[in-house]
């Protein structure tokens, strides 16, 4: 081994004043001369890393906003009928901010219900359109994809900045609608309710317009990534030399580009329907609500795979780096990302088993079971990777194992909802709420937080406190299970969704769930303080703290320079060739620089 990566002169960040790339050698985070210049630099940057970081902070802010709405829902459901207003006695619960939003004279049961409906719709809309669809692709995808494929930037950097500003513009619409009185249609905007409620209220159209605009931001991000993966890979990096993160993001981008336009036309027609009553979806004018459901779910099912695929993409990296082993069955995991992207387009009917004709319900139920197979392949492959690995249980790895635990439950409970007769019992109950929270929150957000921990040193050049990371994990893991597992049982007992007040026997489950949600809040607050502390006073991070082998670890500093690499990166080895590259018994900090592959010959996997 000629030189240890830690001390490799070529890769030392910042020190080497390479002849080329004058003036671009300082880390991308380096501030400009004045404070204002830095702000202008960040606001007009076309550097994929800055855009990724801006997306990250915006998404975390929206995540906490959606989280507050979720706590509003849980507080409301603490008691069967006692809403934020004591309905039986019509007294207002003093001290609770939520009840301050109610009309001044004695608020009735229906006013409190209306408030609850607006809170849960807000929770749904913010979490789906503003947080979880762009979460991993826009923040980590933007930051890491060019680094991992060895490119200087994404294919269309200006388009990337446009996608960021479209995201801001769309979320402005959504927040304006939320502040202006909220929307009470549910995040699915089912007609005829969404076209007939709140007659004179502008907020519904503003929220739909917000979701419509956010669709374009998602399309542009997906488009950028597809062209980057196809055209800007480093020399020597074939399709199977790329990290599996890139495969996952590629599959996600395919869905984003092919599915999002359909929600675009749907929301456009919904806005026409609501403003001009052209009668396409509104049964009062001859339209058909089932047609809207098909239009809506044709996008919304593939988009739930836009949510989970990046989570899986991150998982492959976490498991590989922290078990120091090649992923078991690289091609199986890679192709299952594309298989999920493909199959996701033909199964949307399982959201409509209770409103569909019998023939199509049967066909969709049969196809739905196909979609479970690629996910099962991935989970089995990750578990096999652990066999005889060198597992370092740091926070990202804890989150990876947590993902496997929660995603298994989430995936398996999907089988209940795929079987026709059981779905007739469980549809639109808390069983469905628990299922999609286990898959969205328990898998994607858990993978997202784990990924932030793993690439935090690379993004910000600072290490986070390992102990507090682990404390945060256990709070999140236990809080999550305490919140959502009782909802499975409540759902199978028949508790319907979106209820502000419920029958007494479900109270124990709701109370458990509410307690769990506060433990969850505690976990995320611990992570927030851990991140802020590390930014302010964290120790300096080495370029390769975890001993990863993909290009962002081996060829770029922490934080990387503006143009990512000092030299033209060449793919000399696969992303997980730990056995071929490192001798046993080497401390993570001193992993040797990988031996350049002998010309023509490529190390086998």
């Amino acid at each position: 081994m000629s030189s240890l990566p830690g001390t490799n002169p070529e890769q030392a960040s910042g020190a080497d004043a390479g002849a080329h790339d004058q003036g671009h050698d300082e880390p991308y985070l380096a501030p400009k001369a004045t404070w204002l210049a830095t702000v202008v630099d960040w606001a007009t940057t076309i550097d994929h890393k800055k855009i990724g970081v801006m997306y990250l902070f915006a998404i975390l802010f929206m995540f906490f906003l959606g989280g507050v709405a979720a706590l509003g829902v849980r507080v409301e459901l603490w008691e069967p009928t006692r809403t934020v207003v004591d309905a039986a006695g019509n007294t207002r619960l003093e001290g609770l901010a939520l009840s301050a939003m109610l009309p001044d004279d004695k608020p009735s049961l229906s006013d409190a219900n209306d408030l609850y409906n607006r809170i849960f719709t807000l929770h749904g809309l913010i979490m789906v359109f503003l947080v979880i669809v762009p979460s991993i692709p826009a923040s980590l995808g933007n930051f890491l994809l060019p680094l991992m494929v060895g490119a200087k930037d994404v294919a269309f950097p200006k388009l990337n900045l446009a996608s960021w500003y479209i995201y801001l513009f769309g979320s402005m619409f959504a927040l304006a609608a939320a502040i202006g009185g909220g929307v009470e249609t549910g995040w699915t905007f089912y007609t005829p309710y969404s076209t007939s409620t709140d007659e004179g209220h502008w907020t519904v159209v503003a929220m739909i317009a917000g979701a419509f605009i956010l669709g374009f931001s998602s399309i542009l991000t997906g488009l950028n990534f597809i062209v980057t993966v196809h055209k800007l890979r480093a020399p020597g990096m074939g399709w199977f030399d790329m990290p599996l993160f890139v495969w996952g993001i590629y599959g996600t981008s395919l869905i984003q580009v092919l599915a999002t336009p359909v929600i675009g036309i749907t929301l456009l027609l919904l806005i026409f329907e609501r403003l001009f009553h052209i009668g396409i979806f509104d049964p009062r004018l001859g339209g058909d609500p089932v047609l809207f459901q098909h239009f809506f779910w044709f996008y919304s099912h593939p988009v739930v795979y836009v949510m989970i695929l990046p989570g899986m993409a991150v998982m492959s990296e976490l498991i590989a780096v922290f078990t120091r082993k090649k992923i078991f069955g690289y091609r199986a995991v890679a192709f299952s990302s594309l298989a999920i992207a493909g199959i996701s387009f033909i199964v949307w009917g399982h959201h409509m088993f209770t409103s569909q004709g019998e023939l199509s319900a049967t066909i969709f139920s049969a196809l739905t079971f196909l979609v479970a197979l690629p996910s099962a392949i991935k989970v089995f492959n990750w578990i096999m990777t652990l066999y005889k690995g060198s597992i370092d249980l740091k926070t990202p790895m804890l989150y990876a194992l947590g993902f496997l635990f929660l995603f298994s439950i989430g995936g398996l409970t999907g089988i209940y909802l795929g079987a026709l007769s059981v779905d007739l019992h469980l549809h639109d109950t808390y069983f469905v709420v628990a299922h999609f929270h286990y898959v969205m929150m328990g898998s994607t957000i858990v993978a997202f937080v784990g990924a932030i921990h793993m690439w935090w040193p690379k993004m910000f050049g600072k290490m986070y406190n390992e102990l507090w990371g682990k404390v945060g994990f256990w709070l999140v893991f236990l809080g999550f299970n305490l919140t959502f597992f009782p909802q499975f049982i409540m759902g199978s007992h028949g508790m319907p969704r979106r209820y502000a007040s419920y029958v007494d026997e479900f109270q124990i489950y709701h109370q458990l769930s509410t307690i769990g949600s506060f433990v969850l809040l505690a976990g995320f607050l611990v992570h927030l303080f851990n991140f802020i502390h590390s930014l302010v006073a964290g120790p300096k991070a080495p370029p390769n703290p975890w001993g990863g082998l993909s290009m962002e670890w081996t060829d770029a500093g922490s934080p990387p320079i503006t143009h990512n690499f000092h030299h033209e990166p060449v793919a000399k080895h696969g992303p997980y060739d730990f056995d071929d590259v490192y001798p046993p018994q080497t401390k993570p900090g001193e992993f040797p620089m990988p031996e350049p592959a002998k010309p023509g010959e490529h190390p086998k996997w």
Binding site: D282, F345, S360
Partner: protein
């Protein structure tokens, strides 16, 4: 259709030829000679003429030989010609033939997604009436009303928009005739229909109506032109460019040979009253499906 086969043939030959040549060195800047562009334009024009010809031929055959041409023939012919035209535009004008095959794959994947969307939605909404007939139809054809229309007037519930528009038009006609102001053409045609309905129902025709219609043969011609009226603004207001094919393959709604629009269909199905729900009808007699 002979010409359709020929078109497909040439296209197949074209693509065969392209595959051999185009795929090799796709990255070179290909400049399409003007001769190819002109031939493609001429080809597109002929196909456009073809599709219009096919549509009109269909009418002529249908009326001369009293043939019953089912709906899907019309769809098949029109869409296959349109598909061939768009393939030609995509292959030559958009240079897919000479281009990196990746772009062709993007186009085909998009079409694939479109067919999935179309196919499964049609399976659902098309096969709704398989178990019980009443599941296929609308409760009230044309929508259940109960919404304020553009003029701010509230449509009573259980009355469809079209039906309400017809009632409003009848009132307007009555009012305009009483005032003596001349009716626009489409209201004139409506007046003819009203008179026909009154005659069919053996009710007395008001004198003012008959007087107004006396001097206007073209209204009768338009109203009875195969049960259609053509009041589009293209100069010749009453030339019946083409008429409906005699057969609508779905017999259920009953419009077959060109005749007066039957009074029943005109006033729309009478909304099933609350008691006469369809449930009491077909519900009880299904064989016990084991």
């Amino acid at each position: 259709m002979a010409h359709a086969a020929h078109a497909d043939g040439s296209q197949a030959h074209g693509s065969g030829h392209a595959a051999g040549h185009g795929a090799g060195h796709a990255h070179e800047h290909v400049i399409i000679p003007m001769r190819t562009l002109v031939t493609v334009l001429v080809l597109l024009m002929t196909f456009t003429g073809l599709t219009v010809l096919a549509a009109n031929l269909e009418i002529i055959f249908a009326t001369i030989f009293e043939l019953k041409i089912p709906q899907y023939i019309n769809v098949l012919v029109a869409l296959s010609i349109a598909a061939v035209k768009s393939i030609i535009v995509a292959a030559y004008f958009m240079q897919l033939r000479y281009d990196n095959p990746l772009n062709t794959m993007i186009a085909t994947f998009t079409i694939l997604v479109l067919t999935f969307f179309l196919g499964f939605t049609m399976i659902d909404l098309g096969s709704r009436g398989t178990l019980y007939e009443y599941k296929a139809e609308q409760v009230i054809p044309g929508g259940i009303g109960g919404v304020a229309i553009a003029g701010g007037v509230q449509v009573p519930s259980n009355v469809s928009i079209a039906q309400f528009a017809r009632e409003q038009a009848d009132k307007k006609i009555e009012q305009m005739i009483s005032e003596g102001t001349p009716l626009p053409k489409f209201l004139g045609v409506r007046l003819v229909h009203i008179v026909d309905e009154l005659l069919a129902a053996k009710k007395p025709v008001p004198v003012a109506y008959a007087a107004y219609l006396a001097g206007k043969p073209e209204l009768f011609k338009a109203a009875h032109a195969h049960g259609k009226d053509h009041t589009d603004a293209h100069g010749d207001d009453y030339g019946s460019a083409h008429s409906s094919s005699p057969d609508v393959s779905r017999v259920k709604t009953g419009i077959t040979l060109p005749e007066l629009v039957p009074a029943g269909a005109a006033s729309g199905q009478d909304a099933p009253g609350r008691d006469a729900g369809p449930g009491t009808g077909p519900g009880g007699d299904d064989p016990d499906p084991k």
